[in-house]
Chain length 340, copies 2
DNA sequence: TGTAATATTGTAATCAAATACAATACAGTT
DNA sequence: AACTGTATTGTATTTGATTACAATATTACA
């Protein structure tokens, strides 16, 4: 096990002060007026000794860690891991590294993660906030640490955020079902107050109303995040046996995957008996016997925009808070039925 | 923006030295023989001021960052993101945080990540190594930094690793196909020298041989990781049109997803025309019209064991290198056909 | 040659925390 | 009262790097 070589070692190796080495290796020879031959000698020595700066020491001195804390509901969910990958790539381009944490939609766990990341002095946060964590986000902002919310946000809270227009997206989906002559349209959502979910529900209801379809309470199936499988299975069964709707709109891919399994189990035929539209993508949607129509959010855009906003904050280029709306489009396939 | 409160602030607040505060807050009052009332006063002050230790400073002093660097091929791949989640949870239990990076199976990118993580002084690495990176791993070991390889490993290299027995697992899958009367069994794999892939191919060939089936070169379809989609589509088409096999064994879920799409496109019926078995899981497998039989690796075990091995190393509890074999079992469903 | 101006390089403080060692205080003993 | 021993608390160094400022060397010019 070789010991690490530090600035001091490089300096001693050629008999100069650490200051010089630091200046040269940071490209500040000009400002520090270091002689050209000295500079070369230093660079050569650093290379010879294979000097690697200690970023921890640098962080301590500079007060910056070049680290972004990413907090999502669950990194194993493809929706978030895909975003994570984009964030990773974008962050790397600018010398940042990402540490991640999964909140499981729990406010408590999220607070824990924020604390842990804070004591590690992450330079910024990118968060898909759990329900009821507005105060947590506010605290981060107050501390002067850049934050970007994604996927969800808190109306009224002054923070940068990136998300789609959930109200419209849901509306688009529901209108497509209506266009295909469906009149009794159910929705499967999470029972959370989070803005994105509320907006999807509102968008769904508004689309019904706009088309003079009277919303029925039992059409809205709400599952808890903590046990999707069981909740969806049980509550959906109640709605589908006997069949009280002719179409279903799923608020997320996880809900859809759970729901489609139950639909298969009940032997309901898509789209003839029941038309389907979901939010987000899934490999499963491509292989369902009736390829699933879905609202596609550009995860690439979400990830890229999130990092862009964070970098703007970090470089003080932004004044007031940004609210970036990312595109969402309906990918129409068999599952939503057809006009006739 | 409030300034951070440091040890010094707490000390000044009650007029004592930082040493005392440090001892007390680290639970070393006994060793340092700090008076009981003093200790209480300090704890109270720390709480009042909401003191949060600066882990960066601590890391510098202690030479430990309580951080694990996780390097996988692609964090957006559910196989790896699922493991990442397990690693995250296990690591958190022990006060560790995870930073991640995706190598895209590129040796160069992987080296980059290792360098970046090294300068940040991660305490340990968990890596699913890209092809041809044995030297990189060796270097880490030489530097005395704990590493655990997962999913893949390098025969002969002395490092801790966690993986399934790929040879046997592949054999099990192929034998199942043979049991179901398939005689012309193809395999779709990656064209890499990585041990896990080689073992799967060898297991496949051995199973054929053991059953007196003569392997034909064209049965083995090899795709490059860089463009799965096109490679699989093109090469599989060559094998399936006209149909030269009556069964296909996919070496990973990504390959299977790409392959199944092509199979659908070609209108080949599973399992009647073609029986299917894949490695790993996927939501897609559940929804394919003929539910896909697959080799299930326990990702939970892989993740947990990886962290366990790392912690052992970090606590010097381990002497020689461990080689943990995780269970893999065949989940038999429709796609692999039946006996008659 | 003396002095000012400029070019180079070194010194030392700083970041926040840990800790070896020093220092002081106080009680008990003779 | 002087001394020893233990109980408490403080001082100062260390970690590796950055950087303001000080110091020295060199060159230019009168």
């Amino acid at each position: 096990m070789e010991k690490k070589v530090a600035l001091k070692d490089v300096a001693q190796h050629i008999g100069v002060s650490v200051a010089l080495v630091s200046y040269v290796l940071n490209g500040k020879e000009k400002e520090a007026r270091v002689g050209a031959d000295m500079a070369n000698k230093i660079r050569k020595a650093a290379a010879e000794l294979n000097y690697q700066p200690n970023l921890i020491a640098k962080s301590l001195k500079m007060g910056k860690t070049k680290t972004i804390g990413l907090i999502v509901a669950d990194i194993s969910n493809p929706f978030f891991s895909t975003i994570a990958r984009i964030v990773e790539d974008e962050a790397k381009k600018h010398g940042y590294v990402v540490i991640f944490g999964s909140s499981d939609e729990s406010a408590e766990k999220q607070l824990d993660l924020i604390d842990v990341f804070s004591t590690r002095l992450v330079d910024a946060f990118i968060i898909a906030p759990a329900s009821g964590t507005e105060k947590q986000i506010e605290t981060i902002v107050k501390r002067g640490i850049p934050v970007v919310l994604m996927d969800r946000f808190f109306p009224g809270l002054k923070v940068d955020c990136v998300h789609i227009n959930n109200f419209n997206a849901a509306g688009k989906a529901v209108k497509q079902l209506i266009k295909n002559n469906r009149k009794r349209i159910g929705m499967v959502a999470y029972d959370t107050m989070q803005s994105h979910m509320q907006d999807r529900k509102q968008g769904y209801k508004a689309a019904l109303k706009e088309n003079s379809i009277r919303f029925k309470k039992q059409w809205l199936v709400e599952a808890s995040y903590q046990n999707i499988e069981k909740d969806v299975a049980a509550k959906l069964k109640a709605l589908l046996k006997p069949l009280q709707v002719d179409a279903l709109f799923f608020a997320t891919n996880s809900l859809a995957v759970a729901g489609l399994k139950e639909i298969n189990k009940l032997g309901i035929k898509v789209p003839d008996d029941l038309a389907i539209i979901s939010f987000d993508e899934s490999d499963a949607f491509d292989f369902f016997y009736s390829p699933v129509t879905y609202v596609s959010q550009s995860l690439v855009d979400i990830g890229k925009e999130a990092v862009k906003l964070i970098l703007n904050r970090l470089h003080n280029k932004s004044k007031k808070n940004a609210d970036v709306i990312v595109e969402a489009r309906l990918i129409v396939r068999e599952s939503c039925g057809s006009k006739l």
